[in-house]
Symmetry: D2
């Protein structure tokens, strides 16, 4: 591709512009501050000058100290936001006149100039990458600095438009992929850690599949990726899947495709959704490659079950439990670590609570678990809770070792999706429907409006 | 690359969604009208459903009759524009409160829903292409339907963001490029027609260069391309350059790079500027490949000189001419075709008028010629007017056979650009400065504020 | 790929070696003659020196005058052949002793040193290409210079080993292929001339297929290529297939794949067979892409029918014809050009003669027609003779406008091949069997041993 | 590329041929033995049949037990060698007649049929790979089965022709290369072991370079590769170079390129030389990329110094040593492991012996060390012996921790090469010349004819 060609040229253009800028400023001129530099980028004089300024801005933004960074975001908020007076005047003009030109002027007044600033920053080589990283840092401030939310809204608007699905492409990742890319997969995998290259190699063996979405401006960044294990049954435990010593299955003999890990890589793209689309494309791609595959399902974590249970026992929302169970659960939650033996007596209780938690019959009206919301939103069906499905420390910590299967049946995906999106109905297998309907029942906030419906086998 | 992979899959997803949609509608349901289809795309229920709707919309939009097309644009204008009441209410809320949330709500109210519609249309396979073609047709209506300008503003806004220069890549085009691409070059070349493949092959011979900008979503479309002749002097005539029988020069011996044709391909991207950037990149790329090149200049047409002259003789703006000249010029303008012999007596007069026209000293304050504005805006210098530079019928028709050289000197480009952009000063060679300063002088609208300045040799 | 990388480096190595060589020779040294240069290449001293010599040799060989060329081939024959005395001594030693070492020495003595010379020439950049072109010129001399046959045998031996099918790769050629490659297709097409780029474009339209074999050392040379028309019947005439105005068929609706042109590109590779393999691969590739295809057949010329008929009428081999037919045919052969009207009365006679000629029942024992031998050797079946199948001047001239279909049925290909290769049996359709068995019967050399067998429908 | 395309098709052709073969044999037919299968491959009937047989042979050859393997090689030697009677008859005919045809017949008689067998085996998919692996196993038998040498000569002859340098291409390997390729680099690296992926990553960091030669038929096999460290001095120790924690240098600041490891990957290609060419190409490639590099040198092991010393002390060739040194060295050789402290007293003695050993003044006339012969044969200069240059167990074991630099000066490479190749002169730096000339002097076989010459600084 032309990347190297254009890259080298851009560097030269920028250098030319930089020389020009430095000639224009007097020798003793102080270093321009960030706000002035932003203003200069927006002033847009010569192309090369503008590009040099944008590039200088990009470089500066990559080197900010935490304090400078926060100050910069405030500058964006306060100095490069919409001008209230101008907005009000334009609104008034539109109220009086109402023609399209007045509306357009109002639109221009309402758009914060920082949007154009970001568009120009994007013209610098590597600009897209800088903007994504900038937003990652911005997100880290939002909790404490709610005033920056409007700035983030502009980032999200632009990135959402640029990372429109029409511009993404899907690629398979395997052991022939560049090592530098595989290193990122290893790094970004957050569901089931990849400890080393042997681990990684096993995850890319002939009975595994890995797919990612890429964007042309970040060709080395797998924006979102999914890992799939090919097997002969609905997997109930993660340990055999990620065991680096497991003997690979002939993929031609597989009947089940188990999605066991989905990861978004770039924090800076949070809120730009790719995932619900990826999983369906991968199902279709696998059907094409291996027509004998019959079942497509996940083996998924329940990341916040323990946290929810702790709150629920505390009375939020409140659970209708036998006192003995309540006591045993409370004891469990106080332990720093739990093992299979300690869990065994509580198997029925925990499984039932988990079913209610995932189905949204406990703590609803809608499921509180983010993974459940993601798959149910895609139209998947809650299929099975797997006791001791993940006996790693993390699995025990998050969900007392339980994992859950979501079942992807392309024929029902859309109907399930509609029922969930519009009526809040959760598609459940018969087993899950039974579990979720059983006691313990929630004491408060009965969730009458979202009855779990059994749609599965 | 993943294009075929993703392509096939998208087709299947769309097909699945389409089946779903057709199941939902009753057998006798009438075909959905375009407005309802747009509304459905915006309603965004299931992913596959949404994508199927977007894809159906894309397919429908490609088959519109001229009447349907116009009706569709009016639908976009009237039914998918901003809601006046909502805008006014949001403006009022912002006036009263003024917090960022109120401003964001105002921004959302002001943005026409057709923008989101276009973003979703872009998710369909080939969506970007459909949108670009749609805008091409929209542009054809603007003159007669000024009410559609607001619709076009939304197209331009989105396309401008998506075709941000940071997403473009430069590629060299030569005789090893795909025939399907070369066929487009042949088709889109509008400055000096490419009559056949022998012509085309000569334009891509070892002493020629051709570069184009591409966008990843339209990888087979050269958005803008430039043709360069390598030679040993400042070219004064186009005919030797495009002569298919000309013997190629060893590129290692060239000292001059002459840009003799720049073309924008896609009408649908009008107003999204790439050109001023392309030419500088190409200069740098040529310097890298052939360090011995010393001079970078154009050999450019003066497309509207004749039209301007006709108006000027007519009194708009009015020219201070000798009656004999005036009469001779009027006679010339009445001829259906002119030849060298007929022009010879008027050489001095025409050259002088052309110099004033290009420099903006006649008919100013700024140069009226679009090509002149483009190169001067880039920071080039008006170098030389070439008598009988283009003796083709078209060249004779447009500018009595005259062509002009614009000189690209990277060291002065930015200063010239600034002077032109901010003060309207036109960079002129000594020769041009002399010509533009000579009589005939304009009678009316003396252009005191933009004195032509001689910066060249 | 690394081609440009390695290319540039090789040039530098060669340049370094060249400098070294020139330093070693005295300033007034005469230009080394070709024989001495060959000896130097064989002497193999330093790597760079050897490569520089090989490269100099390559360059010199590309610029030979016809006289020098012939002299060079004689040098190869006489000075770089095996040494008779050494061969005889080695043979005698082997006769006495007979151990493997003696045999190896005999083998070394028998191999002409020009083989090693060619291997070293091949190390020069572009060496393979030089060798192939050299052989092309050598072939031009063989008829008059039979003494060069031994030289050619060495060329053929080496090229046959290097162009081993295991090193070739198949690629589809279409309108997206490089123009420079398509230009070669246009140039090398010798069966049905491609007049211009419109012609060419039609041959690469969606209802046409073109495949070629390539070798990594000549990546821009389609060694052999085949053109295929997709249609809905067994084609009986070439004109509709090569008509540039023909409306393309939707390839998904095609039932028949008609191979209408096969061309070897490089004369220098004559005798290195690729073709019999290509056609089967293409059948399989087409079945993979378009599973609905049912019939694979050729529409082939009969290039030497007229020549054969002229000889046969002259008594070689002699034909048992009615006097009136004989007279009419003789009249036909004397005409400079024939047309459909002139042929009409002789249709039955000509068709019958052609059937016998192709089937080998006339003038046998094996078919004399090279195209027939090629397809029958592949295991195809003689299917149908098409009257007025090619009404171009060339078609009329070669075979009075007749074309023939050979039918490729993968299931019977090998059995047909075996029967043809080992017993000389020609696979015939019922119609052809009937035609070939009918009168006129050959008067002399009855071909009892190769009865035509009807295997078709 | 077309590899997958052709691959899948070949599989189908082979399958078709296989079905055909199985139809022809009676149901109870015993499995064909290898010799019969080879004969069938040579019989070459139908293309598909021949290819199916070749492919079956390839598959069988990959699964041979050691006993079968040895038996197969003997079959090749005894049943597919030249026919003595035919050779003698052809020789006699040539003696009597002497024309080229008789010579060609003799040549055909002398060539063992197994050569054609291997050429046909090469047509099977993956055939080249099978042949290379076969030769690897054959080489393992040569020591004990000298009768197989003639078979190996045929393998080497064919592989040497197919892996002609004109068919190889150079590629850079870095951290963006496929993980599967990097895994091979890790595996094949035999000079300085790559312990894990962190090690590997460091070897491909920005201040390292790795280049390999590839052949189109084995695109995933780096036939030979070289590792280079960029630095600012003539490296004297390997440990800093392979330290995974070393901080990378900015390559733009490097002045020295140190070749610290060269590895041939495929045992089956032993004796087919690529190396002497690779190193020069890499020097040129590095000069191109980093023009500021001034020094190109190796940091090389002395793999057989200890073994040579043990023999020499034993009287072969015999060394003129002080009794105390002799005793100390003998003691050293008896230790299972040595350390720096134990070596210190012998530094001068060992360095001197090593210099003589490398320069060939001890144990000559030519250097016995294979690495020395390789670099000196390339025209490099013996530059410096580095005491404690490799303190790994292997380094201590091979050469008492000493490493040596060979200096590559492109300007003198060829002259040095010529002097070495033709007169046995070894190019030495002044320091090495001094060391090699000093005592201890060899007692026997004084090497008068190859005086070491100082050519360095």
């Amino acid at each position: 591709m032309a990347a190297p060609l254009i890259g080298g040229i851009l560097d030269q253009i920028i250098e030319a512009g930089r020389r020009l800028l430095s000639q224009q400023s007097s020798p003793a001129a102080p270093v321009v501050d960030l706000e002035a530099l932003c203003a200069r980028v927006l002033a847009r004089r010569g192309e090369a000058t503008a590009l040099a300024s944008a590039s200088e801005l990009a470089a500066r933004l990559e080197r900010l100290t935490p304090e400078e960074e926060l100050r910069f975001f405030h500058t964006l908020a306060e100095r490069f936001g919409a001008d209230r007076e101008r907005v009000l005047a334009a609104a008034e003009a539109y109220r009086k006149d109402g023609n399209p030109a007045a509306l357009r002027k109002l639109g221009e007044a309402v758009e914060a100039p920082r949007q154009e600033l970001l568009r120009r920053l994007n013209m610098a080589p590597g600009g897209t990458r800088v903007i994504v990283r900038l937003r990652e840092r911005l997100l880290g401030h939002l909790a404490e600095e709610p005033g920056l939310r409007a700035v983030d809204a502009d980032f999200q608007h632009l990135l959402g438009s640029w990372f429109n699905r029409g511009f993404l492409y899907l690629e398979r990742i395997d052991w022939n992929s560049p090592a530098s890319l595989l290193e990122k997969i290893k790094h970004y995998e957050a569901v089931h850690e990849i400890a080393n290259w042997s681990d990684l190699r096993r995850r890319l063996a002939p009975d595994r599949r890995c797919f990612a979405f890429f964007h042309p401006a970040l060709p080395d960044e797998p924006l979102i990726f999914i890992e799939v294990a090919l097997g002969r049954e609905l997997a109930s435990s993660i340990q055999p899947i990620i065991d680096p010593e497991a003997v690979p299955l002939d993929p031609g003999k597989a009947t089940h495709a188990i999605f066991f890990s989905i990861n978004n890589s770039l924090t800076g793209l949070r809120g730009i959704s790719f995932g619900n689309f990826l999983i369906k494309q991968v199902v279709l791609e696998l059907q094409r490659e291996l027509p004998q595959l019959k079942t497509f399902a996940t083996l998924s974590p329940i990341p916040s079950f323990r946290g929810w249970l702790a709150s629920a026992l505390d009375g939020q929302p409140g659970l209708d439990l036998e006192p003995a169970d309540r006591e045993a659960l409370a004891g469990l939650l106080q332990r720093p670590a739990v093992d299979a033996a300690a869990l065994a007596p509580l198997r029925e209780t925990l499984t039932g609570l988990c079913a209610g938690y995932l189905a949204g019959t406990l703590g609803g009206p809608r499921p509180a678990d983010p993974v459940a919301r993601f798959h149910l939103g895609n139209g998947a069906r809650l299929e099975r809770i797997n006791w001791l499905g993940d006996v790693s420390a993390k699995g025990m910590q998050q969900s007392f070792g339980m994992l859950v299967n979501y079942y992807y049946d392309l024929d029902n995906l859309e109907l399930n999706h509609e029922a969930f999106a519009e009526e809040g109905k959760v598609a459940l297998s018969k087993e899950l429907a039974r579990l979720a309907a059983a006691k313990p029942r929630p004491k408060v906030r009965p969730n009458d409006k979202t009855p779990a419906i059994a749609t599965g086998r």
